[in-house]
Amino acid sequence: MLPEILKDNAVAAALEQADPGMLTGGNNDLNELTLEVVPEKILDALRALKAQKFERLSTVTCVDRYPMEPRYEVVYHLQSVSRNLFVRLKCRVSGEKAEIASATAVYAAANWYEREAWDLFGVVFTGHPNLTRIMMPDFWEGHPLRRDYPVHGFKYSYQNE
């Protein structure tokens, strides 16, 4: 369902028209368009936006709202250079089954961003061609950017040596 404030927004209306069940909410706070998408339909939303001249994917990242549930928000920023627009897509993913379809099928640029999000948050991007660690070493355990992963003293302590 599209909220009242976004009824006049061309981008949101076009997505709503493509598939009425795709959007669950959104806002235009601080003049930045945010659309909340059902996680299962993220690829449809990305394809629909790409057809609307959103040529490039700027970034894919994640926000951990621990201990809230669903705890992860997978956030996509898309830019249309020809229309000079930015749009932010957001999918809420639960902690027990942190999984979402990989955007690499639509935008090749998603490759490294999704590897980074998996590495640091542990959200699995299904269908990703090479979902391996990118920032941390291969032998690393855990996903450091999760809110329940401490800044100090997780496994190694440098304090008392």
Binding site: R88, D138, P144
Partner: protein, 403 residues
């Protein structure tokens, strides 16, 4: 980082050619930092290229979550150590957007001036090191001579040459020092002739031209698809520049061009950066000529520390001072994605606040990460000697890439 990419001197007999896997970096001089690239070669042709990053990952995004909003500024310097002020600005603008504070014109003008000096600084380092990779050592010394002047200016403003932290949430850290106009103006007077000097050394140099012209081509659609930004995409003919498209910090009041080219090769990327240095000189001169008077910090008592004198004499100022120093400022809940044009391309800060005095999440969309991702597309099926020229032309900073 990946262990599956262990280099082996494995030789495979396929027909008559010999395949070889070559490990380049992480200590290779032309990787400009600690980038490791695994190249699969057949003769001198690169068949497959796998960049391996993460050696400089320092967990800056994690550290942000344990510092308060103003302390975070010091981390932004360390992201991209050649464009510190651009990073300061992007972070400050994002937080200011959440706080909804107005920045006085003088601070905005000085921000523009300093960011353009940063752009010149970064392009000079790029030019010097890129030429060094290609065997032209003289240019390196000349570029670093001018860079030294810029670093002295930064030291004059901020007391620090590299980690300036001069642009803060709410304005600037300090009033500009006495006599800064004279120093900047005299530097601006000499710089154009210095840029001419680099061009005389390079534009007709047969080795430079042979190694850069027609090298590193990639269709502009593929560049967009792979997430490339900055001078590389402008050299492919797309005038994509955040300063023009989404003006921030009064850039709309300055008269400048966005240089583009359609040649799309390494030489075009060099030409674009030289043209950008000249445009930056134009912007700095305009900023000097029209510098407004007034304060350099916004008058929001909950965001900016009060003046020392007021803090000592007025109760209210003392309370605000105490609150800011002990608790830090609290930023209204919300999220913001602020894009600025760093010397390398699109630099975006995605900041999420939950209304407390520490960020919930700070994500940096850094240009080097996006540009480096396209490296295999640029290098594969080309000669290995060209890979050095192509890598250099991307102008990545590994600190910016790994964060």
């Amino acid at each position: 980082m990946s262990e599956t990419l262990t280099p082996t001197a494995e030789t495979e007999k396929s027909g008559h050619t010999r395949r070889m896997t070559l490990n380049m970096g992480p200590q290779h001089p032309s990787t400009h930092g600690v980038l490791r690239v695994v190249l699969e070669l057949e003769g001198e042709t690169v068949l497959k290229c796998t960049p391996d990053i993460g050696f400089l990952h320092t967990g800056i995004e994690k550290q942000f979550e344990s510092l308060n909003w103003q302390q975070g500024i010091t981390l932004t310097d360390r992201v991209d150590y050649l464009a510190n002020l651009s990073n300061n600005l992007a972070y400050s603008l994002a937080v200011e957007k959440l706080l909804q504070v107005e920045i006085p014109p003088k601070a905005q003008w000085l921000r523009v001036l300093l960011c353009e000096l940063t752009r010149i600084n970064s392009h000079l380092v790029w030019l010097g090191t890129h030429c060094l990779d290609m065997g032209a050592m003289t240019v390196f010394f000349l570029c670093f001579r001018e860079r030294e002047d810029i670093l002295r200016l930064f030291e004059m403003f901020a007391g620090q040459r590299l980690m300036t932290s001069y642009i803060r949430v709410g304005g600037l850290a300090l009033d500009p020092p006495r006599g800064w106009e004279k120093r900047v103006r005299s530097f601006m007077e000499t710089l154009p002739s210095r840029v001419d000097e680099y061009e005389t050394l390079l534009n007709t140099n047969p080795i430079w031209v042979k190694r850069t012209k027609g090298v590193g081509l990639l269709p502009v659609e593929e560049m967009l698809e792979m997430g490339m930004t900055g001078p590389c995409i402008r050299a492919a003919g797309l005038p994509m520049d955040a300063r023009k498209m989404m003006p921030y910090s009064s850039y709309e009041k300055f008269d400048f061009n966005v240089p583009t080219s359609t040649d799309n090769d390494v030489y075009a990327r060099y030409a674009i950066r030289i043209a950008e240095i000249r445009e930056s000189i134009k912007i700095i001169n305009q900023a000097m000529a029209g510098m407004p008077e007034g304060p350099v910090q916004t008058s929001a008592p909950k965001v900016v520390l009060p003046e020392r004198e007021k803090m000592k004499t007025q109760m209210e100022s003392l309370i605000y001072h105490f609150k800011i120093v002990t608790e830090g400022i609290s930023v209204p809940a919300g999220e913001v994605f602020q894009v600025v044009e760093s010397p390398r391309g699109e630099l975006g800060y995605y900041i999420v606040s939950d209304g407390t005095s520490k960020p919930l999440r700070v994500h940096m969309r850094t240009p080097s990460f996006g540009n480096l991702q396209a490296l295999p597309n640029l290098i594969e099926d080309r000669m290995i000697a060209d890979s050095i020229a192509i890598m250099g032309s991307l102008d990545f900073v590994l600190g910016d890439c790994d964060r």
